[in-house]
């Protein structure tokens, strides 16, 4: 891990100062080889850059070239997570009318196979005389994740920021995690995803974007850590016109749906938030606000629901 990290720093430094040109960077090819023989003439025009060590350096503009696929972060960093964070989600059931905009955005951004959904909206009705409601369900990013416990090869793992991710380059496709997850949120790529283009297929897989999905491996909601790194909200959160999803950091005690921001602890206290099937001891990172004083009647959602 340390070696990886060192070489990454070194690599970034070279990229910035030396003006190394990167051609198509597949995960296999060494970034140092590609384009090393290419000769570039200095233009004389300088730009100021901040190096990884925090120093301001000047570099000739000609040495900077756009990189088609800047390797995001290393696998070991993706496995460690974003330091100091503990991501949580709050889903307000009183706001959902089964529009499925969240689902569409998620499927689109993650290039999920057209038969599959990472985010499902269930019509829930527990008892005979209880009222039905719509329940959007993401991965709970359990703090005691049964799926991680059973994975034989550490292909699904828990990070220090609370997110549970999948390494599709390592997954052997045993589907034990699917049997273990009580929330049935995991899906499997039974064939090569029809939504993944040839071009996308050649890209190196990233655990944080979960793209590209690969045949014979599992997939699931990833809590969009790539968006969090960019200080943006997960796709489902920003797609919902009703502001059903709130996303945030437990350590900062704040969650937001883009339009409104709440103190997480207050929201949970005021609206009596709860966790799904917490009796199983999975300790979910997703909290639900009960479907009290609903914005829409349940029937409204039936128009969209196709089962």
């Amino acid at each position: 891990m340390d070696i990886n990290n060192a070489s990454r720093k070194e690599f970034l430094a070279t990229l910035v100062t030396g003006g190394l040109v990167l051609a198509g960077c597949s995960s296999k090819k060494s970034p140092f080889e590609a384009g090393a023989d290419e000769m570039v003439k200095a233009s004389g025009e300088k730009v100021k850059l901040l190096s990884v060590d925090g120093e301001v350096i000047e570099v000739d503009k000609a040495f900077l070239k756009p990189v088609p696929q800047l390797p995001a972060i290393t696998n070991s960093e993706e496995r460690r997570g974003i330091p100091g964070k503990k991501f949580v989600m709050v889903i307000d059931l009183s706001r959902c009318k089964n529009l499925r905009k969240c689902q569409a955005a998620c499927n689109h951004m993650h290039h999920v196979h057209s038969d599959l959904n990472w985010l499902k909206v269930y019509p829930m009705n527990e008892g005979e005389h209880t009222a039905p409601y719509w329940q959007p369900t993401t991965c709970m990013h359990c703090d005691e994740p049964p799926c991680v416990k059973v994975c034989p090869v550490d292909a699904t793992f828990k990070r220090q920021d609370g997110i549970v991710l999948i390494d599709s380059d390592r997954c052997i496709g045993c589907r034990f995690c699917m049997a273990a997850c009580p929330y049935s949120i995991r899906v499997f790529n039974w064939e090569k995803p029809d939504t993944v283009s040839e071009e996308l297929c050649g890209q190196p897989y990233s655990c944080e974007t979960s793209v590209p999905q690969k045949k014979g491996t599992v997939g699931k909601c990833d809590f969009c850590p790539d968006m969090a790194r960019k200080n943006e909200l997960p796709h489902c959160v920003s797609a919902c016109p009703n502001g059903t999803f709130f996303y945030g950091d437990l350590n900062e005690d704040s969650v937001t749906n883009g339009a409104e921001t709440f103190r997480f602890s207050d929201l949970i206290k005021d609206k009596a938030g709860y966790q799904l099937m917490d009796d199983l001891g999975t300790k979910p990172s997703v909290y639900y606000l009960p479907p009290a004083a609903r914005n829409f009647p349940f029937e409204k959602g039936m128009e969209i629901d196709k089962g």
Binding site: L116, P123, P152, I172
Partner: protein, 459 residues
């Protein structure tokens, strides 16, 4: 074997005395006759047809697997809810059946039971071939079989899959040794036969170092004893761990502390059923009436009844207790078994795989070879479907409703590729057993001779 009927003591006698029903007492057999009776034989016409059928079924299975490799697991009918299907039931079935090796060889041997000696090799080859195909079928089930090595590169000790890989490998090697070591003296006998078969080189390669000295016999006896003791905990582990693949999850129908013993008792039952079937077939087609006698069937029948009762007991525990409570997540699952879509299969497996065998085997006539053969088949088939019922109904009853998926995701019935691969693996296991019996004596010659001499000595 007590013999109340007079025995011809002349070892050279050509016509050994017979019982009214045509069975000969082995006591009257000469060494030469025993050896020539038990030597492996060329396939007859029936044998060739049998081999041909098995090979064809295997080839179809291989072709189906080729398609699966090419297109992915989409060729199966497994989907996100029924994420495991008949591959996994087949795996559990194979692991279960392989347990019989340890029962017949080790448990009976350690408890000083002698009548089972002629059956040890049958049991052991069933164990070895079943465990081999258990490993193969689990690789078939993987979405990424080419990454199998990840289990060794990144294996994490807390995953029950890693436990399973460890104990199954151990079991395989112990079983292989338990098959091989008792084979050594027989190999010497095979090498000493006058006509040289085409396997002569193989025998020489595998067993020429065996000279049959006292020291060698002592070492091999000791080794077998140690292996017999070692295999018992390993055998219990392989099936307990296999049951934990299910029991370590939260799912209704799997979330049970009863699963280990439930699986093990079921395994012993199906294993003894399989041995009975094999006994009958070898007895009939290899003419081993003198070596696998009515008495063997009778005793195996009694063992099987006991095991079936035991399995019954765990079934009552497994279903009656949850059914008494009818917890909400379990309700749909139990209903589907008792009165729903799985009910016909469930009740036939209970009736055909347990209750009818118990009733039949309680009668002395029921423990004759032919009824035993039929009962054995019922037990084995019932057990296969029971494994199907352990895997599928639970997966189709998740905690949250089945929703937002294509309609086909909500049901499971295996595709032709799945059937072909599952049947191919079963045919493959039978093929291994058949080929083994073609090359090696299926009844241990040396041990039969020793028993024979001891018996004569006794008199």
């Amino acid at each position: 074997m007590e013999n109340s009927i007079s025995i011809n003591n002349d070892k050279k006698a050509a016509n050994a005395p017979t019982f009214a029903n045509g069975r000969r007492k082995p006591d009257a057999l000469t060494d030469e006759q025993i050896i020539s009776d038990l030597l492996p034989r060329k396939f007859g016409k029936l044998g060739m047809i049998w081999m041909g059928i098995l090979v064809v079924i295997c080839m179809v299975g291989v072709f189906a697997y080729f398609r699966q490799l090419k297109y992915g697991l989409v060729v199966t009918n497994m989907r996100d809810y029924a994420s495991w299907g008949i591959y996994i039931s087949n795996f559990v079935f194979f692991v279960a059946i392989s347990l019989v090796g340890s029962l017949i060889t080790a448990v009976l041997r350690l408890t000083g039971v002698h009548w089972s000696t002629p059956l040890t090799r049958i049991a052991e080859i069933i164990a070895v071939s079943a465990i081999t195909f258990a490993a193969i079928i689990i690789i078939v089930d993987m979405g990424r079989p080419e990454r199998f090595y990840n289990l060794f590169l990144f294996g994490r000790l807390q995953s029950p899959i890693i436990w399973d890989v460890t104990v199954i490998t151990t079991y395989f090697f112990i079983s292989l040794l338990l098959l091989y070591i008792p084979l050594l003296p027989d190999m010497k006998i095979l090498l000493a036969t006058k006509e040289k078969t085409k396997f002569y080189k193989l025998y020489r390669f595998m067993g020429s170092f065996w000279k049959g000295t006292h020291l060698q016999f002592r070492i091999s006896k000791k080794a077998i004893n140690i292996l017999c003791i070692a295999i018992v905990p390993v055998a219990f582990s392989i099936h307990t761990v296999t049951s934990w693949l299910f029991a370590t999850t939260y799912r209704p129908g799997w979330d049970s502390t009863n699963f280990g013993p439930y699986f093990i008792s079921g395994a012993f039952l199906v294993g003894s059923g399989a041995v009975t079937v094999a006994m009958y077939v070898f007895r009939k087609y290899y003419n081993l009436k003198n070596y696998i006698t009515y008495e063997h069937f009778d005793k195996m029948g009694k063992v099987t009844v006991m095991l079936a009762l035991l399995y019954m007991y765990f079934n009552v525990n497994e279903f009656l207790v949850p059914a008494f409570k009818m917890k909400k997540p379990e309700e749909g699952f139990l209903d589907s078994l008792f009165i729903g879509s799985f009910a016909p299969l469930f009740w036939s497996a209970i009736l055909g795989g347990m209750i009818i065998p118990i009733i039949v085997l309680l009668f002395k006539k029921g423990r004759h070879p032919f009824p035993m053969f039929i009962v054995g088949i019922m037990i084995v088939v019932g057990a296969w479907f029971k494994r199907y019922l352990i895997v599928t109904p639970t997966l189709l009853h998740p905690f949250l409703p089945m929703h937002n998926v294509p309609e086909s995701y909500k049901h499971y019935f295996p595709s032709w590729e799945e059937w072909a691969i599952a049947m191919g693996s079963l045919a493959g296991a039978l093929l291994v057993i058949t080929i083994f019996a073609r090359i090696f004596p299926i009844i241990p010659i040396q041990e039969t001779l020793i028993e024979q001499h001891e018996k004569e000595h006794h008199k």
